[in-house]
Amino acid sequence: MRTASIRWFSTLTGVVCLMALAAVAQTRAAQPGTLTIAESSDADSLDPKLATAAPSVLVYSNIFDTLVEQGRDLIMKPALATSWEQTDPVTWRFHLRKDVKFQDGTAFDAQAVKFTFDRALSKTSPARGLSMAGPIAQATVVDDSTIDIATTKPFGPVLAALSEVFVFGIVSPAAVEKYGADFGHHPVGTGPFAFDSWQKNDQIVLRRNPDYWGQKAKIDRLVFKIIPEASSQAIAFGAGEIDGIMAPDANLIARLKADPTANVYEVPGLRMLFLGINTKRPVFSDVRVRRALNHAIDTGAIASALLKGHATPAQGYLPKQVFGYADVGTYKYDLGAAKSLLAEAGWKPGPDGKPQKDGQPFTINLWGYTGRDPNSRLISEAVQGELQRLGATVNLRVWDYSELSTALWQEVPKGGPETAPYDIFMLGWTTITGDADFTLYGQISDISIPPKGLNATYWAAPDYMADIERGRTSTEATVRVAAYRDALTKLYDQAIWVPLVVINQVVVLKKRVTGYTPHPVEYYMLRMADVGLEN
């Protein structure tokens, strides 16, 4: 009996091992006409209503179209809408492209647009990115190929809002009816690529849409391969397992540039990393202290040493290409100026040489993050080091990026923002629409003060609010630009942020990949309809 059990036992083990070997014997054969690009994280969902973060949007921006599309020059172009006009201060009429089909064969028409907008604007279950869309109120069908979009009040950047595929990507009503809550894993849109398959944490496969209304795709399959780690990406690229890397690590770009089989595409981007200052904290409610912080960080060193030159030091609260940007001045890196500003604010060197006021040492609670952006953890640590040169005691806590979001924007601490456990937080923000309104209204306004939104500086001076309100509600470019210049001047003066760097958008592709042009907005970097493969 016992001998039998031993035999049974060893057979079982043997079988397990054989199964293991057999199961992995499946090698993936490379198919011709396939373009494979590596991404650092997997998408959450391919439903524009549910997923607004880069890994998801990078993929589904190939599957869905919007009424208007954001071009590489940041100007809005016709897409599913061929022309439009403003019929009254709060209504815009869009004329839709005819003879367009969804990837499941159903027809695209005004009803589909209304369906999409109703779904996104639903009061009970709104699109998760809705608050980035501004005051869009509703869509009304005029006829099969005409639709009216209404806003709650006059809204200048309305076209920019409608180009946001992560809210208003047009979905197939038939597919949503059919798949219901699983639409995110069976997405159907009008775009140049249709969804094929998705192995979680492994890869997402899209295939060419032969009935696309625009420039039809030149490749058969588009594969997004998930390779989280920078060195692994570089190795896979070198070995020919992948054709491209999205946002390679700054340390490896030089190496990739030297690779004779590779083309490196780099453009200044719209994503800015910055330090937000909690202006309600007693120490930091003094504007001189905030200005001192601005003088204390060497943004040039961060851009050149940590990001290896693949970023530019920020010159204000917006990236330069953004509509509404004005150069109202930046604080130069000057430790001496920083220290004298601190002294002015009452922080004199104490017996240990470190600044103190009323016997209290200068302490800073800094929240940094890891993930999401290249070298973000290192940048947090570098900032800590720089602030320490002011003589401050800096307590750094490094969060995972998504946890940081929660920590900043959850309930205001019971005792009010003055008692918050952070003084300074590091964040990244992309001005997706290329319009100042997106960032200034979205990040720095009174309607976005936690828990309502993301403005963890708790600052929104009334005169500044008047400026950005003016910028938002006017449809005239000159008025808007002037309004934003005023707003930016106030921001610079009050120094509620320390803008750090603007990251370049980088993509590396094998030379056999032709026709690619990078897009300054991270989310649209991997739209591959124009791209072909040479052999």
Partner: protein
Amino acid sequence: MMGRNQTDALAGVAQVAVSRGRLYRSWRRFCRNRAAMAGLLVVGVLVLAAIFAPLVAPSDPSAQDLMRQDMLPDWDLPFGADQLGRDILSRVIYGSRVAFEIGTASIGIAVVIGLAIGITAGYLGGWVDEVLMRTMDVLLAFPYLLLAIAIVAMIGPGLVNTIIAISVWLIPTYARLCRGVVLTARQSTFVEAARSFGARSPAIMWRHLLPSCFTPIFVQITLDFARAILMEAGLSFLGYGVQPPTASWGSMIAEGRNELLVAPHIATIPGLVITVAVLSLNLFGDGLREALDPRSD
């Protein structure tokens, strides 16, 4: 050679004399084990480095110097520098402080609480025993890293919280251990005798059951110290352990991963140090256990 039961029965001088002799023999056995002695030596060096870190480390472990970024090891910087130009040797030395602090504290807490739980459960029996042991089972049913991550996710990262997380993970082992010892000891004639003399329960528990737990606990500790250090390294690697700029061997490996192609020393060296430390602890622990094993007599 006297059997264990007979030893128990002989309370008093005889017992003391025998155990003193045993201890001496164990010590001699240990000294003959060269591997164990080597392990002890290395552990000793690391502990000394940990205690005297400020004196031993050539520079401030958090001092950044972007001029020295990614420098490979040379005479100036025996272990090289990391991406922020910090001296890796100093960080490794301070890292040993973190490792041993966390190891000692978490095991200490786990022993104290585990002891309490185990003795209570073993002695009182009944539903108290059931409830306590089922709770221990639940804790043991977590895959080892998951429990610690869950706790750190709940109470936040950092040195103290990592200690708490690791001790919670270790408690069930000690609880079970003590309970086992107590269950056997309860039956022994010695305890029965003490009881019949009217000795009260707490007294019995403390004076007689407690010491019988010592040896198995001691043995378990020698196993657990290495595991605690590995656990802390794993947690820090995942980002859940100590926070910057405090250097932990595990977080140094995580930070060095990105640079593996251009500056492999940043991730390699801390890992080597962990391996050496744990190896030495294991050698030391093995030697200790072998030396104390009465069957080797």
